[in-house]
């Protein structure tokens, strides 16, 4: 059974409420319908109710599969606003929030913030920037986390790592040139993401072109500083480095190069790149030469699960990402 099939099964055991602020979009409504009909999620369509009902009927979908939330309905909107502004450390006040909530993306995130939904899934009509801004403004960052980032999950044929053919890598998509503090945040968030999604015990390697001082220079200094920050912030996590990639994931190489105790060296299941140049090139190498399937990017660092899909994504990919985000949300509740 592929990892995606396993995640589909996991989603079905504990379906989460997923808010779709772009449900009028044909591909998005199809993905919401099919994942809802098959029991993986509880789809909540957020927008102009009359339009959404008309579109669902035109497209031949049973309306009973959906919960439809009308953004023009004042009583429920006011209830959400009251609950939201009562939360600690929210950014927007009533009036500004009410204005932003005319946009279904913000409306959905407010629902999520007050636990009327578990996930907000968007990105087919909104840009990544729109989703990230709304997420930062409404959902906010996790305490102690200084940047939004992402990880991807690679299923690499022939790779025999500590999780079989699977390896989580990040950040290959969002944070361009992280400073040490941000790099530490990426590592911490990645550990939390794989724990909630896959029930892994994270073993996170911070990689660069040096293993424990074998190389020197400012590019390495950033990684060692990030490592120190991450270890101090979260001593409960196994985050180690600085390692070259082979020392991180190949036991025989780790044995030669890492001459001290390490829970991570040679058996890392999470690899953190030093910047986006490395991340982007590496993922493409894994895909091109390793013929890997790469799932994601999964956004991380927010207080709750926010998902941004590619604007050109086919329905099958959207469904996969919806299910992944639902499993993460269920895992976060544990």
């Amino acid at each position: 059974m592929s990892i995606l099939d396993q995640l589909y099964e996991k989603a079905k055991q504990n379906p989460q409420k997923v808010a779709f602020p772009e449900a009028a979009n044909e591909k998005m409504m199809q993905a919401a319908y099919e994942t809802g009909r098959d029991g993986y999620i509880i789809p909540v369509l957020v927008g102009d109710a009359a339009e959404l009902k008309r579109l669902a009927a035109e497209r031949g979908y049973e309306e009973s599969i959906f919960t439809i939330v009308d953004i023009h309905e004042e009583a429920y909107k006011n209830e959400l606003i009251a609950k939201y502004v009562a939360l600690p450390e929210t950014r927007l006040k009533e009036k500004a929030l009410g204005r932003r909530m005319e946009d279904p993306l913000y409306y959905s995130m407010v629902m999520q913030a007050v636990e009327e939904a578990d996930v907000t899934f968007a990105g087919i009509d909104n840009t990544t920037g729109d989703v990230l801004l709304a997420g930062q403004m409404i959902i906010g960052l996790k305490p102690g986390i200084s940047t939004i980032s992402s990880i991807g999950l690679c299923d690499i044929p022939g790779f025999e790592g500590s999780e079989g053919s699977l390896l989580a890598v990040g950040d290959s998509a969002v944070c361009t040139n992280p400073n040490a503090e941000q790099l530490a945040s990426i590592a911490i968030s990645a550990c939390d993401t794989v724990a909630s999604l896959l029930d892994w015990e994270p073993r996170c390697a911070m990689v660069c072109y040096s293993t424990l001082g074998s190389g020197q220079g400012e590019l390495i200094d950033k990684v060692t500083e990030a490592l120190k920050i991450a270890q101090e912030a979260r001593p409960d996590l196994a985050i180690d480095g600085e390692f070259q990639l082979d020392a991180a994931i190949v036991p025989a190489v780790a044995e030669k190069k890492v001459k001290r105790e390490s829970k991570v060296a040679g058996k890392a299941n999470v690899v953190i790149w030093p910047d986006l140049n490395v991340g982007n090139v590496s993922v493409k190498l894994i895909q091109q030469f390793g013929h890997a399937d790469a799932y994601g990017p999964m956004l991380q660092g927010f207080n709750k699960v926010v998902c941004d899909c590619s604007r050109g994504a086919p329905v099958s990919e959207i469904k996969g990402n919806v299910v992944i985000s639902a499993v993460r949300a269920a895992g976060d509740k544990k």
């Binding site: 950014r91 500004a96 920037g129 801004l133 940047t147």
Partner: protein
């Protein structure tokens, strides 16, 4: 709102969002060089401007402002 009053208000909001003393800031303060803030702080600032001045800014437009003076111009256009 008069320009001077708006400038004073925006300075106050920048100081709160970037955790600076308002007396260290001026219209010429550069976001990149003097405040070196992360995007998270700009998000906080945009939210504060919405709350306090009733002006809804695009984050991309606010982030494109080099100085506080340019941000005041942007807010003025939105009011």
């Amino acid at each position: 709102m008069e320009r001077k009053e708006l400038e004073a208000k925006v300075l106050e909001l920048v100081a709160a969002s970037y955790k600076k003393d308002v007396n260290e800031l001026s219209m010429e303060t550069s976001f990149k060089e003097d405040l070196s803030g992360a995007s998270v702080q700009m998000v906080a600032l945009v939210a504060e401007i919405e709350n306090e001045l009733d002006a809804t800014l695009m984050l991309a437009d606010a982030s494109a402002c080099a100085t506080i003076s340019e941000l005041v111009d942007l807010v003025e256009e939105e009011l």
